[in-house]
Amino acid sequence: MKTYKICIIGGGIVGSSIAYHLAKFGEKNVAVFEKNYISSGATGRCGGGIRQQWSARMNVRLAMRSVKLFERFKEDTGFDIEYKQGGYLLMAYSDDEAARFEKNVKMQKEEGLEVEILSPKMVKERYPYINTEGIVLATFGPTDGHANPHLANFGYIFAAKRMGVDVYTHTEVEDIDVVNKKVMGIKTTAGYFKCETVVNAAGGWSREVGKMVGIEFPTTSYRHQVFVTEPLEDFFPFMAISFDGNFYMRQTKHGQFIMGMGDPNEKPGVNRDVSFHFEKEMAKKMVKIFPFLENTRIIRHWAGCYNMSPDAQPIIGCSKDVDGFCYAIGFSGHGFMLAPAVGEAIAQKILFGRSEEVEIDYLDMGRFKGKKFEVEGNVV
């Protein structure tokens, strides 16, 4: 029977980032358990955006730290993840949203983020291919950007493996062995493994894993749909996004436009089917704002899940009730962009007792006891 120091449940971007950072900080007796294949979950279905322009301070901090790590990703892991810092253009379509943006920009600047406010005229001047009708105000963060989430996932996994971490794919965790409120080991389809610490990085199944140790995580999965177009010549460097407007879109390195929106009528649960209704809604909305899309063709349409927390901020920490049980879940649609900083922070917390770069105590489960928490507004 093999013994590990730390077992991570979930081989997505968060789980693999945690494994990588643990190994990097010297702890190689780590195993990652992925019940399907690498990049099969939300990681492999997301839009790939890396944004620092959040409304909640914690998100801004984690995002800014992540960007620093993304900038070094190739150097650190050897994998080129097609990272492009072409910026994020946030578009406000109502006075309310515009006012919120201005407030956010003030806070972001306090945090040290480079960001500017643009009038609709300025937007039209810079980006003549955008139809600026209806835009009240926009903000632009030049160090925001995007990358290829698959390659980032593979990058962390391969680097972790090279450093000695064991990675089990197509291996499901069936139960977590807790004795006297202490984690003893895990039961998987590849057998039982003794371990001291288990990390819940199970994304859309975070709640189910929590149940294995008797913890009720307030996370719910909601479907989000995405589609991608045929490639066009490179001309659109940033991610365009609007929260009230409810859309996001970027052009990938391969020339394809990837875009999505949230459906307020979406029922909770893991659902990966796609609806034509989504294509109609997107077509109506996006062609108006980006007229060049009219003659462009959609070639593939899929869906993934946001693991939503009550305040759209991630739930990260180590349980006070079950010794050796930690969690990094509820990323509410921005797990990819926060993964590097989160992986680093929780690895530090597990190994050294506290995180060094970004303070993550606030993100502990405990904040929901108070029922008074800050909701992240910048979510599509």
Partner: protein
Amino acid sequence: MERAAVKPQLLVVGGGPAGLTGAIAAAENGVDVLIVDEGLTLGGQLVKQTHKFFGHQGFFASKRGFEIADILKKKVKNLGVSVMLQTTLVGFYDDYAVAYDRENNKTIEIDYDYVLLATGASERFLVFKNNMLPGVYGAGAVQTLMNQYGVLPGEDFLIVGAGNIGLIVAYQIMQAGGNVRAIVEISNKVGGYEVHVNKVKRMGVPILLRHTIVEAIGKERVKGAVIAQVDENYRIIEETKREIVVDTICLAVGLQPSVELANQLKTELVYIPELGGYVPKRDENMRTTVENVFVAGDLAAIEEATSAMAEGYIAGYTIAQDITKKDLSKEIEKYKEELADLRRGPFGEKIRKGLKKMGIIMPEGGYRRERQEDFGPVGKLRAVMECHQNIPCNPCEAVCPTDAIDMGGNINGIPHINYEKCVGCAMCVMKCPGLAIFMVQEFDEYSVVGIPYEFEPLPEKGQKVILMDRDGKEVGEGVVHKIMKNKKEKTHVVFVAMERGLEKTVRHFRLPTPEEEEIVCRCEEVTKKDVERAIEMGFTDFEELRRYLRIGMGPCGGRTCRLLAAGIMARKLGKSIEEISPMTLRPPSIPLPFSAILRGDEK
């Protein structure tokens, strides 16, 4: 060029290597010379020869043909020799010699005291089906187009004939960017120098002995050829017929001396096959049976440009001696010795035999025949000779700065190298006309071979190349270690690092080309190699492989690549395709324009 002095003392017909040296020899001694040449420039066949010549280092060896032409042309100009270009000597009538100036379309009558015929040879034609089809060209003609006019008449060539001309033209076609698909030779051995064969063989060009061309395929232009094996009686073996895809067929099946004018002058012609067919009978000083008529070059016997030049000098000096009564026997002797050296070796055998029939005896032998078996001290950067035939050539010996190379006393000898003196400078590699010298150095983990390279593009340091052995077989991959560029000689030395042990077999390399890539995913241009490498890297799950390589993420939705990629994975992992997940297929099944969705939604 000046217009006719219509009463020259010496009329030289043909401004190729033999005619030019004959004119120079006579003009140096005060003779009034007129050269009449058909071409657009002087130089004859030299003008289009891009390869380096063999022979004595002092006698133009290791110089490229067109460089020699330039040297001779300049000398002729400086000596004040009259020249008529684009002018054909059409006839020696009983009253006058008449030339036809094609540019001005008028005839010119010439009165002369002596005539030196240096009219060279013309290419033989060959009988096979559809042999008149455009695209069937003389090998020399293709050489003219490529090297004189800068035009490559096709992309894929078949060369008929493996004599020196066929082999040299094959190499030059590849330098110009063409592909030689095969060389067919009807006899059971190649007629050309081994070093010319090796140059072409190590590039992977198949040389098919006992093969000939049966048919040129095409209605308006060559589209292919049918080749077949022949038996000992040169009869085609039907079952061996096969088609080969080429767009140009070069005939290099021999030359025949252009004896028309010699015949008009009533010199005696004799039929000697070893010399090329009908040739004018002449003595050792190149004088024919008519006292004031001399011959030199390919007209006298099909040989090389170096012997043509020697013969030209001999004829020119003899004529000058006749006219001026000066004693030029020393100069004449010098070139006779030069000629003798050029003909001593095994390739001179045919000429010696032919000349014997005319009563001219040329010496043979007197040179070293033994090869050097010593490969040299392992670990030292040194030159390795692969010049195993006795050919008259010594630039390597002449250029070596430490006198490490010697021919054993005669230029026909096999070169040997003294490894204690060799400093690894690679000068010999760059000078060798046969590209038959290589540099070798063994290190602990790998070896390096320095290969003479005359192609474009030159690879870059660090570039991966595909290693080839002497037969052109691919034997592995190597990395470019260093490049010695020689802008003057244009023979560069590319040092390639390879697995230890391969330094004994690798003698050429090529750059990987996009055409040989096997595409699996057309939309994303993912190759079979990419897929295999990714699997080797650890992407053993089909879905992971897809996400890493983007197979199936393009507009075709995986239709072209899905099964192919799964098949490659199945084979590589030893699984069956059923065990590999088929990927999820998502809508829309064909690319769907936004405009269509909008219109469909209109009420």
